[in-house]
Amino acid sequence: MSAVEAGAGETGAVAGATYDARLEAFVGAVLQPRTPAQDPVNVPMIRHWVEAMELTDPVHLDVEAARATGREDVVAPAAMVQAWVMRGYAATVRPVAGGGRFAELVDLLGEGGYTSVVATDSDLELVRELVPGDHVSVEEVVESISPEKRTGLGAGRFVTTLKTYRDADGEVVATQRWRTLRFAPATPQEPAAPEEPAALRPRPATNRDNAFWFDAAREHRLVIQRCTGCGTLRHPPGPMCPQCRSLAWDTVTASGRATLYSWVVAHHPRHPAFDSPYVVVVVDLAEGTRLISNVVDLAPEDLEVGMPLELRWLDADPDLTLPVFGPVTQED
């Protein structure tokens, strides 16, 4: 496999002048030859539109009102011009095979990775109003295909076509410049610049037995519960000393010196508050209790059981401060 082929295989994009030229060849192409509407302009369809769009102008349904404005009959709402030539429900759910030039263009765009579509612009120019009995047709021609643009949706090309609407005599009644973005959907795997996590870290459930610890953390104090009966340190905290059953306790402030006991590199499932993969550790505090925490300024490959660590503080958000651990920077 050549390097070029390998590159194409990895990105899925077809690069180079050949592809651009093939796209360029579509400019001026007739995507849809002049195709008549299935039904002439009619009052029942106008009524549906007027009700659905909640239009209040009486010239669409009231002949007298229309005549009062100098018109000969009621007129269809201008924006309906596109509706008269729509394929209808049956053709939408059971498309006829063989899509012609339009299908060829869609295939070529797909070949370039531009598999998704979103409409971006519709500039409608009305030459004359349509009245009941008008039989409209439409023709669609490619006007331009842009070079690749980077958009919020992904890399894509703007495809602009011109739809020309005519009456039964072939006179132009409206034109519509129709622009769509054909794009390669941006994949979440794309390397994203480090950014603020989209969500807050999970909240601790605090109660009468553990709130003191999180309160101290907010003041950047790592505390350990101590039994005032027998002096035993304990973590996670609880109401009673397992050594002497005393209910009395206070806290000592930890030195912040620790060693690494074990760790996990968490990959799945992802959580919006954490940039996966991330490391969760269990450390032995110098005072003798253990603590689950995170590390900072250390990559997973830097970690070794027993390595010394020192306390840092993570002000995760205004309501949550957590002790975390980094490499030792100060010798004492």
Binding site: R201, P202, S262, H271
Partner: protein
Amino acid sequence: MSTHPRGVRGSAAIVGIGATEFSKASGRSELQLACEAVSAALDDAGIAPAEVDGMVTFTAESSSENHVARNLGIGDLTFFSRVGHGGGAACGTVAHAVAAIEAGLASVVVCWRAFNERSGERYGLGQADRAMDTSADRAAYSWMTPYGLSTPAQWVAMAARRYMHEYGATSEDFGRVAVVDRKHAATNPHAWFHGRPITLEEHQASRWIAEPLHLLDCCQETDGGQALVVVAADRARDLAQRPAWVLGAAQGQAADQHMMTSYYRPTISGLPEMGVVADQLWRQSGLGPADVQAGILYDHFTPFVLPQLEELGFCGRGEARHFIADGHLELGGSLPLNTHGGQLGEAYLHGMNGIAEAVRLVRGTSVNQPADVHHVLVTAGTGVPTSGLVLGDVA
């Protein structure tokens, strides 16, 4: 004759097993799954719903005994209880049933578990965003989830790393458990991974979930139900099925026990609560590791199978990797493991499907039936307060 005037051995037997299919989307309520499983287990035993007088399930079960009983036409109940700690409850349900029978509180006890664990609330997604309250159980998560330690795989991974460090075990040693499970599942038509064995290379190549755990170290998530019928000894002798006698049934919790994160003990490379269970099982049954011909060891994550083998006395501390590499867990080995495929291969039914497989092994009807099975060991969830059983073909 038992040396104990009263005791577990020989007082009760499992005489019926029944399950739904094991799937990823059952398409029906958890209550319906429970009813289907219990109904199938009663039919298997040849016992009418009206004869049931005791029911036991997990605290994690969403369908209480009154709902299941009302739907099945079960009448008066004289005993009902629930066992906590997720998968650690599995064998404990039978232990409760046996205790009730031995105490004369009931004589026909149904144990069950049913859930839509895959299509409903998935445990694998972790506890990070579960609702908060101020109970002790909920507050315990405060020491983990703010740091991103919220899933069972992550909880096990922390202990697994330490086990590797202390005993020189490797990811491949864990992988051999997965390979055996999937090999046995491959020939089990009821297994999700029927016909889909894996190699150790595939295990090693599977993506990381929580290092040092690969995807293939982790059990499935399953929708389904599984039920068992436990009856008193006199009733067991005149039923259609060959009784799977309960020779040992025990629960165990050890010092400084946490829910999956007992990281504060002097060492975390063992599972002392399983040691508590093991001591009781061998004492109750009068048997030892050399006397069982098959093992159903809880395998939500492969690393915890190794310390289980050690706690249960099949090998010394840190030696499980050699015991496994020597082929003891294979069909034809000294302790064929998880002949149904385990929770990695058959289904994750919180360990209850493993008890059903142990019953089949005693009956001689497993799809991977080893020769001459007389005693089978079963364990429940690891890393939590847990339980175990020894079943046998003679009371």
